[in-house]
């Protein structure tokens, strides 16, 4: 299993969630975050934003689905500008469903 963590623009979240749903990936967790990339934030006139508001979507999927998730997110979330975000994939050892106590996705 892999955990796919995607950091995307907040205004792109619904588009991304729709695209993921269409691709068969329904279950996810969403949280609001602030972040910066290599550009160290942005400057608009005299206002300097060191951190920018983004939304992180977390999905845990089977190993073979991680790439499809990444591609789906990138297609839906990309604008081509700085600040589009990043996707991280990390390993997951186990998953449990609390309602049933069962192991596995």
């Amino acid at each position: 299993m892999k955990m796919v963590r995607t950091i995307v623009r907040p205004e792109k979240v619904e588009e991304v969630v729709d695209a993921l749903e269409k691709a068969g990936f329904v279950a996810l967790t969403k949280l609001d975050v602030f972040g910066r990339g290599r550009q160290k934030g942005i400057q608009v006139g005299s206002a300097v934003y060191e951190d920018l508001a983004k939304t992180m979507l977390m999905l845990v999927v089977r190993d073979e689905d991680a790439e499809k998730v990444g591609k789906t997110v990138m297609q839906a979330a990309r604008t081509g500008n700085y600040g589009d975000g990043k996707i991280f994939v990390s390993p997951v050892d186990d998953a449990y469903t609390i309602r049933t106590g069962e192991k596995g996705l």
Partner: protein
């Protein structure tokens, strides 16, 4: 070392934290999140109008523990936060490569 990431109902957080603390697992961090599972959130209809919540508020607890403690921590969270209804949440166990204490620079949990 493993990270136990538990997404639980907000109203079950105290029960889970107390149960974990009574077993000696008091170190954790918590984040407010929103999420959905297979059911795609909640759908309800009121007088022929359909409405719903695409995401439901949950709390994500994270504990980093020794490998040997994972089973106990998982079992404690399962027991204390289950209601048996849809929306109880999920627990993920992830490998942790390194832990460093900011105050002292020591490595390890």
């Amino acid at each position: 070392m493993k990270e136990v990431l538990a997404i639980v109902r907000r109203e079950k957080v105290k029960a889970a934290k107390d149960a974990l603390a009574s077993l000696g697992f008091s170190s954790l961090h918590a984040v407010e999140v929103e999420g959905r599972g297979k059911q795609r959130g909640l759908k309800y209809s009121q007088s022929s109008k359909e409405a719903g919540m695409r995401y439901l508020p949950k709390k994500m607890l994270s504990l980093v523990v020794h490998d040997g403690d994972v089973a106990k921590v998982v079992h404690t969270i399962l027991k204390s936060s289950r209601t048996g209804e849809i929306g109880d949440g999920k627990i993920f166990v992830l490998p942790i490569e390194q832990v460093v204490r900011v105050r002292t620079g020591e490595k390890g949990i």
